[in-house]
């Protein structure tokens, strides 16, 4: 089947892949290169090289506090998104839930609703009924936007699993809770791992909802980077962003090692 795709089509494909890759990776490259700048100002390309901005942010109270807060937030959000999203995905794929289509649509809707709308709505709601925003208000906002990722990845993995395995477990004497524990959840594991990865990353990077629901004196890392850019742009911003990219890569490798990216990418 060698001549199946013409040479021209293949060249075009390679070209497109190159263009897309450059578009996606160029901004990252600019940030990473800038982070090793020796100068006081955020300029590209840098005039000299140093690690001073890494030393700076690792000694900065503001950066460390913001990173710690973002980390706590992302961990709590991930746990809650998994706790809500996994059973939801199981229910949607495994059972004839009345209105499963609508429920599934609701769970995925945060992907299409503008975040700014969601942020405004949440702020108004929490101000009216909870006397203002709080850590848990922010958690709630992030859980809403991360749920679609968990529901989608878990549902996708379960949709491909052999349903007969659950029936077999049933015939072999497993009551429902043992079927979930021994059969359904292990089968969903790659989806849960991928969902956790997305939930953590989305929460850790999220700036819009955090901007609406921020509480005085507490800042997430993306918000700190944003305000730094606005008021005193220096290469510490690039250094912080580079560390965030590094964290994402580490998590990605961990995901690949634990369940295999090929099993969750489908």
């Amino acid at each position: 089947m060698a001549g199946g795709i013409s040479l021209a089509a293949r060249l075009l494909a390679v070209l497109l892949i190159l263009v897309v890759s450059v578009f996606m990776l160029a901004p990252l490259a600019v940030v990473i290169v800038s982070s090793f700048s020796a100068s006081e100002f955020l300029i590209f390309p840098p005039r000299g090289w140093s690690l001073r901005w890494y030393a700076e942010i690792l000694a900065s109270r503001a950066y460390l506090d913001a990173a710690w807060f973002s980390l706590q937030l992302a961990v709590v959000v991930t746990i809650l998104a998994l706790a809500i999203g996994t059973p939801a995905a199981i229910a949607i794929t495994r059972h004839a839930v009345p209105g499963a289509e609508i429920i599934s649509g609701l769970f995925l809707s945060p992907l299409v609703i503008p975040t700014i709308l969601l942020g405004t709505g949440l702020l108004m709601m929490f101000s009216r009924y909870a006397g203002g925003s709080s850590f848990w208000a922010l958690v709630a906002g992030h859980v809403i936007v991360t749920l679609p990722y968990v529901v989608r990845t878990v549902a996708a993995v379960l949709a491909r699993a052999d349903r007969a395995a659950e029936e077999a477990a049933r015939v072999m004497g497993a009551p429902w809770w043992r079927r979930y524990w021994h059969v359904v959840l292990p089968q969903a594991r790659p989806g849960i791992a991928a969902g956790a990865f997305f939930a953590f990353n989305v929460s850790f990077d999220e700036a819009v909802i955090a901007l609406f629901l921020r509480t005085p004196g507490v800042e997430t890392l993306p918000l700190l980077i944003y305000s730094k850019l606005e008021f005193s742009p220096d290469p510490s911003v690039a250094a912080a962003a580079t560390l965030m990219i590094l964290l994402t890569i580490v998590l990605m490798v961990a995901l690949d090692r634990s369940v295999g990216l090929d099993r969750v990418a489908a």
Binding site: D162, A164, E167, A169, M172, A174, H182, P186
Partner: protein
């Protein structure tokens, strides 16, 4: 071990009826094959026995106990699925131990020794630590069978157990299943669309069609004495020729007749198995014969498949290669069969 008695069992899915008031008694230790085309209700019947479907009407008793309202996990049956349904995240040994864990059979050590026995039974001693995806299709099939048997169920249910194997492996496994059944004498219900499988494995064949039982009998009976045209056609693709019978003579076509001593007058069907038919140059006294024109001859290795024309009817037959070596399309011959080979329906 137990018998299975099913009484007036029906299953409707919405407006469609998958199983229509089926009653069947399966005696203890027998091997029953539910045979039929897809959509005939055989799989629904098996799933109802397992408890994976809830009947719309009727009762199921296993070993004298009414299990109609009992959840599948409480019926204690063994079932093997068409897809094998092995747990991909467990090793072979863990898969086999699963029913013992769920039913709390024995201590950890006893369970381990039973897993070892089961692995030996299906000749997979070395493969306990492998994962299902690391096994061949035939090995997976044997693991699934061992897992269905390991907890000593009173009844074994097999859903198209051999359909995912290639032809040679399927023949080997048929022999193994027969041996296994003879050894442990477990009441076994097999679902298959493959008549060869049903006839070779089972003591009793239940032929199903459109949610009802078409015919029940021993493999020999159901093959030799089909009760309906459907049964004749489904099993072995017999020739079914419309005939008119008057005063003990069946007319196949104008001027072409054979004796039909015991059949009543009227429109009937003559059932002739392909392998019961012979071609001769001239008619002999022992056999019945009708004149036939040869339409096509196809070589199939050990046998030839010949299609002939009798009146306006096409008739297919299978003859040994030597027997028919000289026949060519266009030749005229006598189509012969032994008196007792013919069935009038």
């Amino acid at each position: 071990m137990a018998d299975v008695v099913v009484d007036g069992l029906s299953k409707r899915f919405g407006a469609t009826s998958a199983l229509d008031a089926v009653s069947l008694s399966i005696s203890d230790g027998s091997f029953v094959a539910l045979l039929g085309p897809s959509g005939c209700g055989k799989t629904t019947f098996l799933r109802l026995l397992a408890g994976l479907e809830t009947p719309s009407a009727g009762r199921i008793r296993i070993g004298g106990i009414d299990v109609t309202g009992l959840a599948p996990e409480r019926r204690g049956l063994g079932m093997m699925f068409q897809s094998y349904a092995l747990f991909p995240h467990m090793t072979v040994a863990e898969n086999l131990r699963f029913p013992l864990r769920m039913r709390r059979v024995g201590s950890r050590e006893e369970q381990a020794s039973r897993v070892g026995e089961a692995l030996r039974l299906v000749r997979l001693d070395e493969l306990g630590a492998r994962f299902p995806r690391e096994l061949s299709g035939g090995q997976q099939q044997r693991v699934a069978l061992a897992r269905a048997l390991i907890a000593d169920p009173p009844v074994l249910l097999l859903d198209e157990p051999l359909s995912n194997l290639d032809a040679q492996l399927r023949k080997d496994m048929q022999v193994e299943l027969i041996e296994l059944h003879r050894k442990i004498g477990l009441t076994t219900v097999l679902v298959t669309h493959d008549q060869d499988e049903a006839l070779s494995l089972a003591d009793v064949v239940v032929l199903m069609r459109a949610g009802r039982i078409e015919q029940i009998g021993s493999p020999r009976d159901i093959y030799r004495r089909p009760a309906t045209i459907f049964a004749a056609r489904f099993l072995g693709g017999a020739n079914v020729i419309p005939v008119q019978i008057a005063r003990g003579v069946a007319t196949l076509a104008p001027g072409i007749t054979v004796p039909a001593p015991s059949a009543p007058d009227g429109a009937h069907h003559l059932v002739l198995r392909q392998e019961d038919l012979r071609l001769r140059a001239a008619r002999s006294d022992q056999d019945l014969a009708v004149p036939a024109a040869i339409v096509a001859v196809a070589f199939h290795g050990a046998s030839l498949r010949v299609v002939v024309q009798v009146g306006d009817q096409r008739v297919a037959l299978q003859v040994s290669a030597d027997d028919a070596a000289t026949w060519r399309a266009g030749d005229l011959a006598q189509l012969c069969w032994r008196r007792e080979a013919a069935v009038f329906l």
